[in-house]
Symmetry: D2
Subunit: 137 residues, 4 copies
């Protein structure tokens, strides 16, 4: 398993009249978190697209347990647990920095798709190799 922690400061625009983060913004946090987790592994999503592959989201679920508030600093923990095939499930846990309480958990599944033909495809060899090493650690 490979794990990466991305930090995010809650912004005013993300908070609703209940005074807490509106639920959709966790998915924005997840996008930033997986992008930085991949970068940490040496993979820039920008390069994947430049190579003719896109990675649309095909499935997601989120469980909201406790609210996050304005100006909270959050840890978004991203976990890659399996070798990516055509599908790449990525798991997330959100906590306040320095606090064990879990605010939310979720999974977002991406797939590899040929940008030209808009058909599912296998991950690039370099990416498979990177994941093999990361998951072995």
């Amino acid at each position: 398993m490979y794990e990466y922690v991305y930090q995010h400061r809650v912004r005013y625009r993300e908070c609703d009249p209940m005074g807490v983060v509106y639920h959709t913004h966790y998915l924005d946090y997840f996008e930033a978190a997986r992008t930085e987790a991949l970068r940490d592994l040496g993979i820039a999503y920008r390069d994947i697209e430049a190579g003719g592959i896109i990675m649309p989201v095909i499935d997601l679920d989120v469980q909201y347990k406790r609210p996050a508030h304005y100006d909270d600093m959050l840890d978004i923990v991203t976990r890659f647990e399996t070798m990516p095939s055509v599908r790449v499930p990525i798991a997330y846990t959100v906590q306040r920095t320095g606090d064990a309480d879990v605010l939310a958990t979720g999974t977002v599944t991406l797939c590899f798709m040929d940008a030209e033909r808009r058909r599912p495809t296998r991950p690039p060899a370099a990416m498979r190799h990177t994941f093999e090493q990361a998951l072995a650690d």
Copy 2:
């Protein structure tokens, strides 16, 4: 079961460099759709909050099957299938208006919460009554 169709025109700001609706915006469509479905039943969420009850999202899942494009007119079909208890699961299906292909499906579960004490609570009697009638039809 009670079903309501909400229509939405896809906006430029909702589309990403793949030229399709970015996945998080479907959750915005779902919010508008359930609000209008409740209004169609005679329930304004604004009044629920004025009565001291808030309805945070506690769980959601979405399955993305086909992309929506800029300027598409979408039908967001909202279905209430069960009597609301503390939890209110609401199901959604997204299609292009006049087209049988399903673009996405999902479920967003809200809960009734006492706004003051931030504790789960039972739905207001008037709302239970409205749902009983709607689900009986």
Copy 3:
């Protein structure tokens, strides 16, 4: 001058902890309003892009006078006052439907740009013709 009224219902996700619409969302309302104003004139922005022209925003200003609240129904009044040259300034006024108080005013200026070369260009002849007629009325 050509004027068009677009209506929008304020959504929960657009409201902030002050209980009012967060300022950036007025720009989303403006995008929807100008798109529908153009459609009312017979011009689909989707077709402009299909013709190899894009219309990026190059300048904007907004003045916020009174807050809008959750579930308010808003009139976004869009005005085209001058023939589009390379630049297309569009003016907006936001009011609650049926209420004379002005909540916000603003201007968003787009420009015509050749999509391939990313250089300013003149508006398509059909669009100039449409505007000539609309502004003459």
Copy 4:
């Protein structure tokens, strides 16, 4: 004058079908930038609100000069040029990190408002003092 540089990595969800940052997101960058600039001065906006004062945006303008692209690292330079009275104008310049080209400039003017009475008010004494020192440097 007091100046602060906030860095932001452009996210996929912020980019549109033209492949560039959609114009409204610069205002989100400005919010994060001024919040961190104030924090750098020792002022947490969260504390201002806890003290019964809110700071709504009353006016803004933005000039877009060059596009930002997906995954670009941006410097958002925030400048406080005048002592805050009831109004607080804050100026911004956006550049790619390490690049002199200006992508966008803008000004967002906030005002101090009594949260309870929703009336303009003077800035807290501590904040005036902080600004006096910062602007003197």
